[in-house]
C-alpha cells in the first residue's frame, strides 16, 4: 500500500469516529463480559499466619519438589485432559 492511500485510510477512520464513538453512548456492548463487580481481598496484612492451623498437616503441605505427593481434586476431572493420578516423587523427574 502506498503512503498516500494509507494516510487517506487513517484520516478517514479518525474522521468517522468523530461522528460518534464514546464510551458513554456505548451501553453494554456485545460480547463484553464485566467481571469483578465485587471487592477483592487486600493482599497485604500484618497478622501472622495462624500457627495452630498452619502447622496441622504441614508435612503434607510442604513442597520440596522431591518429597510431596498430591492429587488434583477439582473441576479438572471434568476436562478431557484432566488428571486424577497422584503426582509422586518419581514423576518430578529432572524438571527442577
Amino acid at each position: 500500500m502506498n503512503k498516500k492511500t494509507l494516510n487517506t485510510l487513517l484520516v478517514g477512520a479518525v474522521a468517522a469516529t468523530a461522528l460518534g464513538a464514546s464510551a458513554a453512548q456505548a451501553g453494554p456492548a456485545e460480547g463484553n463480559e464485566k467481571c469483578y463487580g465485587v471487592v477483592k481481598a487486600g493482599m497485604n496484612g500484618c497478622g501472622a499466619a495462624d500457627g495452630s492451623h498452619g502447622c496441622a498437616g504441614m508435612a503434607t503441605e510442604d513442597a520440596s519438589g522431591v518429597e510431596w505427593v498430591s492429587v488434583p481434586k477439582g473441576l479438572c476431572e471434568k476436562l478431557a485432559h484432566g488428571s486424577t493420578t497422584p503426582v509422586t516423587a518419581e514423576d518430578h523427574g529432572e524438571e527442577h
Binding site: 493482599m43 500484618c46 497478622g47 501472622a48 495462624d50
Partner: protein
C-alpha cells in the same frame, strides 16, 4: 558508636490530634460498603498503604471513606530494620498515597522483611544492639526526609530472642525515638505476646517505655500455639482482644492522656459489628479513666 545513643534528634516530638472519638478501626476490604452505608461512630480508620498502590477499586473506596473519616497509613513493607536502604520505588508509591489521602499519621514496624531483592512479607525479628539501632536510624531518617514528615514505629511480636541483645526492647524503642525524632506506636497486644514468649514482665515494659513518644496504641487478638509442655503466642490478628490484654491496656492508658487507640483485625474477618463492639470496649475503658481522673481532681 558510643555517640549514637548520646544523639538527640532536633525534631519536635509529634503531637497526636484530638478526635471526638479517639478509637479507630483497621479498615479492610470486606467492610467498605457497610461503612459507607452506615457511617459508624468511629474516630478514624487505618489501612496498609501497600493495598492501595497502583489504583482502581480499593483506592476508589478509600477515597470515599476518607471523605468522612480521618485516616492513618500503617505500612508493612518499608522493612526499616533490613540491613539495606529503604526501597525508593516503595517510598515513591507510598508518598503518592500520602499526597492524595493526607493521613494524620504514617507508621511502620521495628522489624525487617526484605533481604536483597526478596521480600518475605512478615515482621521479622531484630537484635536490640547498636548495629541495629544505627541501621534503623538511617532508614527512618531516609523515610522521614523523603516524606517530609515524622513517622511512628511499632514494637513487634517476636517468637525468637537474640543472645546479643544489648538492651531491652523498650529501651531500644526509647532510644530510637530519641535519636530519630520518630514517635512510638505502642502495640499492647505485642507487648503481651513478647512477654509470654520470652518470659518478661509486660507491666515493666509499660512502665519503662517513654510515654511522651507514644502517638498511638494498637490492640489485636492473638493465638496460643502449644509446643510440648509450653506455648508460644502468635500475633494472628484474627480474633477478639484477650482479657489479659485489655487489663494491660487499662494499665497503660492510666499513664497517658486519652491516647489514640486502634483495633486491628487482618484475617478471618468478622462482621463489622464485632469490630465496632471491640472499639466501644476500648472507648469505655478510656472514658472510665477520664471519669476517675475528674473524680480525683
Amino acid at each position: 558508636m558510643a555517640d549514637l545513643i548520646d544523639k538527640t534528634s532536633q525534631l519536635i516530638p509529634l503531637d497526636p490530634p484530638v478526635f471526638d472519638n479517639p478509637v479507630g478501626l483497621g479498615l479492610r476490604a470486606p467492610h467498605y460498603e457497610e461503612i459507607l452505608e452506615t457511617k459508624p461512630d468511629i474516630g478514624w480508620f487505618e489501612v496498609h498503604p501497600e493495598n492501595y498502590f497502583g489504583g482502581g477499586i480499593h483506592r476508589h473506596y478509600l477515597g470515599k471513606i476518607r471523605e468522612h473519616y480521618p485516616l492513618s497509613l500503617h505500612a508493612v513493607g518499608l522493612s526499616l530494620g533490613a540491613d539495606q536502604p529503604v526501597d525508593t520505588e516503595h517510598l515513591r508509591q507510598f508518598k503518592e498515597l500520602i499526597d492524595i489521602f493526607e493521613p494524620f499519621i504514617v507508621s511502620d514496624h521495628v522489624s525487617w522483611s526484605a533481604s536483597g531483592n526478596a521480600h518475605l512479607n512478615d515482621l521479622l525479628p531484630l537484635p536490640y544492639n547498636r548495629e541495629t539501632l544505627e541501621r534503623l536510624r538511617r532508614n527512618i531518617e531516609q523515610t522521614q526526609e523523603y516524606f517530609g514528615r515524622q513517622i511512628i514505629v511499632e514494637n513487634p511480636s517476636t517468637y525468637i530472642a537474640f543472645k546479643d541483645n544489648e538492651m531491652s526492647e523498650f529501651e531500644f524503642m526509647n532510644l530510637l525515638a530519641k535519636i530519630t525524632g520518630c514517635g512510638i506506636l505502642l502495640d499492647v497486644n505485642n507487648i503481651y505476646v513478647q512477654s509470654h514468649n520470652h518470659g518478661l514482665d509486660p507491666y515493666e515494659y509499660i512502665d519503662g517505655v517513654n510515654k511522651n513518644a507514644i502517638f498511638e496504641i494498637h490492640l489485636a487478638g492473638h493465638t496460643e500455639k502449644t509446643i510440648g509442655d509450653h506455648s508460644l503466642l502468635i500475633d494472628t490478628h484474627n480474633k477478639e482482644v484477650k482479657d489479659d490484654v485489655w487489663d494491660l491496656y487499662a494499665y497503660t492508658i492510666k499513664q497517658l492522656d486519652k491516647p489514640l487507640t486502634l483495633i486491628e483485625w487482618d484475617q478471618d474477618f468478622p462482621p463489622l459489628e464485632t469490630l465496632l463492639s471491640e472499639a466501644s470496649r476500648a472507648r469505655k475503658i478510656l472514658d472510665l479513666e477520664q471519669e476517675e481522673r475528674h473524680a480525683a481532681e
